[in-house]
């Protein structure tokens, strides 16, 4: 029986290779290459303070740019009786109101008029008053630090919660250069690099919880943040500001769907995503969608600090600069022959400012052999945060 098989063997191998390799082609249907340009409204109506709204646009999924923002729009908070509070434009598509106190017996909405004459409104929503955070606590376990929030509402009116947080941590760079390369010349440093910076990052994932299945409106130890042992944010001093929002049932549903929908990217084998818009609509053209949910509530917050000394001593917490060791060396006296040109070597390495000199290297005879050096990110902590000490920092 082997006779009929043998001549076909080459073909078989070929077939199989084809089968397994398949063919992959880019798939860019018109719907993706010319994406819809919808207004994105991000923020909430703060019933006891400043309302900040950020306007941007949807943009192509294949784009590597930052999202286009909507500038020069007119924004107003309105109640059903027609009372209006204007928002003033800030930077980067943000708009802020004055510190307001909204009437909890009225319903409010956001009214947007863009520069191009388009008009959008959010649905009228009731005002919810967010109960205070009972406490923010933390515990260390084998995996790292867990940060929990506790809250309750004795009146049972809140039920739907959302939390955001802002983290701040100290950064201490490991190099303090004594020289700098300015105007194609190496000189002693004039303004030293900061020795401490403060990193800052907002939460990026949706954190929500509801108490509708409980007999009391109590949130007990909801974990808002988990930091692994390997997080460099814990290396000196770490602070987290947890902000609590009380949501309506509808707003909760919006955030829940947003979380499920967009925290993984759709492939054939991923869950079915669903379209999600929110409660902002075009006043004139229903087909012109606007994305985002504008709720009205107050904001309560609480900050805690975690020092390195509070953590188990056995932990080997990285400082974030592990990959910066050891420093590189830029030699100006080699290679030979031909005789090197020190100015050209320095220029080729340090022009542009992405690579910075640290200290001179001297030979045994005291001759200048070159400089130690490293990338800017290893030296200037302002690439990772701000050198301005936050007002709340102790």
């Amino acid at each position: 029986m082997s006779a009929p098989f043998f001549p076909a063997r080459r073909a078989l191998l070929w077939c199989l290779a084809l089968l397994l390799a398949g063919c992959t082609d880019p798939y860019l249907p018109p719907a993706i290459t010319s994406p819809p340009n919808y207004l994105v409204v991000d923020g909430f109506l703060n019933s006891q303070g400043v309302t900040t709204i950020r306007l941007s646009h949807t943009y192509a999924i294949a784009s590597g740019a930052t999202p286009p923002v909507e500038t020069k729009a007119t924004l107003n908070i309105e109640d059903e009786a027609g009372t209006r509070y204007a928002l003033r434009e800030g930077v980067n598509g943000t708009y802020a109101s004055a510190a307001l106190t909204l009437n909890t017996t009225r319903n409010y909405r956001l009214h947007i008029n863009t520069l191009t004459g388009k008009e959008y409104v959010s649905d009228f929503v009731p005002v919810k008053t967010t109960p205070p955070i009972d406490n923010v606590s933390w515990r260390a376990d084998n995996a790292g630090v867990n940060i929990y929030v506790n809250a309750h509402d004795a009146t049972g009116a809140t039920q739907y919660y959302r939390w955001e947080y802002v983290e701040t941590w100290e950064i201490h760079p490991i190099y303090s250069p004594s020289v700098e390369y300015v105007n194609n010349r190496m000189r002693d440093i004039v303004v030293p690099f900061p020795t401490t910076c403060w990193g800052n990052a907002p939460s990026t994932i949706v954190q929500i919880d509801k108490t509708t299945a409980l007999s009391q409106d109590v949130v007990a130890n909801y974990r808002v943040r988990q930091l692994p042992i390997t997080s460099d944010r814990l290396s000196r001093q770490y602070s987290i500001l947890v902000q609590q929002h009380a949501l309506t049932k509808e707003e909760y549903a919006y955030w829940e769907l947003l979380r499920k929908n967009t925290e993984s990217i759709g492939t054939l084998f991923d869950p079915q995503p669903a379209q999600l818009t929110g409660n902002v609509h075009s006043f004139s053209t229903p087909s012109d969608l606007a994305l985002g949910f504008i709720g009205a509530h107050s904001l309560t917050e609480q900050r805690i600090f975690i020092r390195r000394s509070d953590l188990p001593a056995a932990w080997r917490v990285p400082n974030g600069y592990e990959s910066c060791l050891p420093p590189d060396s830029v030699f100006i006296d080699r290679p030979k022959p031909p005789t090197p040109n020190p100015a050209a070597i320095l220029q080729s390495h340090f022009t542009g400012g992405a690579f910075l000199p640290i200290d001179p290297i001297y030979g045994q005879t005291g001759n200048l052999q070159g400089y130690t050096a490293k990338s800017r990110d290893c030296i200037d902590c302002r690439t990772r945060g701000t050198s301005v000490k936050p007002s709340f920092w102790p």
């Binding site: 991000d42 646009h57 549903a253």
Partner: protein, 921 residues
Amino acid sequence: MKQAYTAFCALFFMLLCLTSAGQQAEKTISGTFSHLPFEEFARQLEAQSSYRLYFDPAAVDSLFVTLQVQEQPVATVLYQALRNTAFRFAIDDEHRVFVSAGLAPNTALPNDFFQPRADGPAVAQADEPTATGPVGRSRYVSASEYKIYDIGAGSGSGRATLAGHIREQKSGEPVIGASIYSESPNIGATTDQFGYFSLTLPAGRYDLKIRGLGIKNTRRQVVLRGDGKLEIEVEEDIVTLKEVVIEAEKDKNVSGMQMGLEKLDIKTMRQVPTAFGETDILRVIMTLPGVKTVGEGSTGLNVRGGATDQNLILFNDATIYNPAHLFGFFSAFNPDILQGVELYKSAIPAKYGGRLSSVLDITTREGNKKKFGGAGGIGPLTSRLTLEGPLVKDKSSFIISGRASYSDWILKQLSDKNFSQSSAAFYDITAHISHEINEKNSIYATGYFSSDKFRLASDTTYHYTNQNASVKWRHNFTNQFYGVLTGTYSHYDYDVTSQQNEVTASQLKYAINQEGLKADFSYFPNSRHTVDFGVSSLLYNISPGSFTPLGTASLVKTDILPQEKALESALYVSDRFDITPRFSVSAGLRYSLFQALGPRSVYQYAPGESRSEATIIDTVKYGSNKVLATYHGPEYRLSARYSLNDRSSVKASYTRTRQYIHQLSNTASVSPTDVWKLSDANIRPQIGDQVSVGYYRNFKSNTIEASVETYYKKLYDFVDYKSGATLVLNHHIETDIINAEGRAYGVEFFVKKLTGKLNGWVGYTYSRSLVQVNAATTADMVNGGNYYPSNFDKPHDFTLVGNYRFSRRFSTSLNVAYSTGRPITLPLAKYYVGNSLRVFYSDRNEYRVPDYYRVDLALNIEGSHKVKKLAHSSWTVGVYNLTGRRNPYSIYFKSVNGQIKGYQLSIFGNPIPTVTYNFKF
């Protein structure tokens, strides 16, 4: 609960004890005959004895018999009767009596005797008395056509039932779905899966015609006096290139009761070109109107807008849970052992239940009862071998068939590391034994095992197996009443093993066991009624998932979902009633009962809230075999046919179905790791209603048949998924699934050309399949609670399967398939909300992938047609996807440096040539 089950089983045996007695022994002749016409005398003689008289009625019309005999042998009686006449008679050893004028005929026949002649057998002339050797079989068959069978011992008035089997004369295998009918009056019957038929006719003389799949048309002449048996042996139609197959449906298209039924036999299926040269039953099914699939390499069938889990796939009555090999590129059934397949799309008979959309009934051959034989094939990826033969000649037979892939071996030969580290292998074995204990009792046993194992350039190995067994005992109580007791066992399991990293080495396992017992009875009270009734019960045991560490170094935490258990039982009765020859109705009722059994812990959820872990308000524990949920309800099966004339008819049907087991598959195509989930306290059963109407017409003396069928279907509570559903190892799966409503409608045009050099079929379907998720809570709604296209909504679908026969040895097949692209949900844009990049998706299934289009071509070369040779062989040379169109198999999106990019993967992006060698001995 256990007691109830025991009692239930006992019921089966009670029903089977209803036996009847009665058979006659050889008799002598008694009676007084006074001036009786010879014809009538002969009839009475036959009635009293096992002898059959052959004569020319015209020659004896003036012959009258006056005689008085008392317990005399036949020969004596005849001698006395014909003593003073010009007639002589002769009796052969088969108790056949030949009466003729003049010389007594010699009962030993000349060799050329059975050449068809116009003047009939009764004028047999013994002009050349020669010694007779054994008569050739095929001649014996044609001889049977001329013989007049005298059936029964009745008075010759009233109605009588003729029953028996139609068997293939060479192999002794039953012929399934063959029809036997009389043309006037127009009464017929069809053989069942055992080749059994039962036909009730007014007493009298008939010319019964026999037509069937792959057999030569034949006829039997019978004189029916009372209930009796007729065993019919028919010749196989050897010319396989000629499309005999659909011929069986010749009359059925118009005159048959069934609508939405597609029958295919293996010979038809062999002609359809496939990617790897191997006949693929499911691939052929997909060329029929109303049957769709989401992806090229998927064997998941979507029948008339139904989901892939809504098809009951039966392999000799045992349920198959995964009918695919190698991700679905091969169907799990070895073509060599298959007899045929029946697909019920709309009017599902009452004896089937448990799935919403269709029943795919696959039957194996019985094996040659007369001699040993074998068949096999060698293809690019697989080879197969089948052996068959008698165990006891004419009584019992076996057939065993195996198939294995050698893709594993080929992969090892490839230099590419990705390939040599991959493996993909499968095999399957099927065995079937049939035994006829006696005239009234037969038993059948089938075993099936399939195994798949694959690893694709990764450390994860997938492995799955099907194990099925069924045992049937058939008992004929009387000619008009028989029953079949069937025990089935179905097992499906998979495991996913990851071993590369010993710290995370783990195994994920799933298994489903289904044991079933059922008793089906058929009763033919008269020619106008066919009554079927029965009971069935299925016991499910599911291990929904376990995740366990492998090896001592593994740190994986064991996670085992609790067992699921349930009992599904049903009772049914149906009657097919031919009100007039033109108008018949079939009414059936099936009542099914489902009980989910403990031990289980059942979560209860806050009413009016979207189910999630946060809304669990209570947990109720149920003990072993305690019923934790009961669902039951009637399933109506109604259909009617009205013949407008001989060539056209109108049919209508209404079918309700209920389904208690759901396949959880979050991916567009069926994957082997999908899980089956039983209904329970939180998951309701699915219910489906279908109304369909069709017009059927045959052209050119039944050689071309055409049909138009329309349907409207409503599905309730079928399973859909919330956004972000987790289906594997989910301890509270009900929080991730929702009950959806569906509706589907369509019109199917189908034209088949049955015979001739050019044959095949063309089908066009326009259909829609829509889903609505309008849950009480907004968060669970999909597309705002509006209807949206299902994953397999492909409105336009065109298929052409054509064969052209150049000669008896060369034929060519062409396959053209076109369909609208499958719906897809696209990420349209991205945006920032809540400090994070979000993706804006289109409405669910708002867009479509590019249209699907494929052309395949194959050339079949048969070996010489010498009847006597060692082995018959054939070659199939084909090209799959002749145009090389890159039909997308999957569309996926990947994030590359913050940019989301779309890709389409085509599995068969080039023409795929294949060569297959088949042999039969």
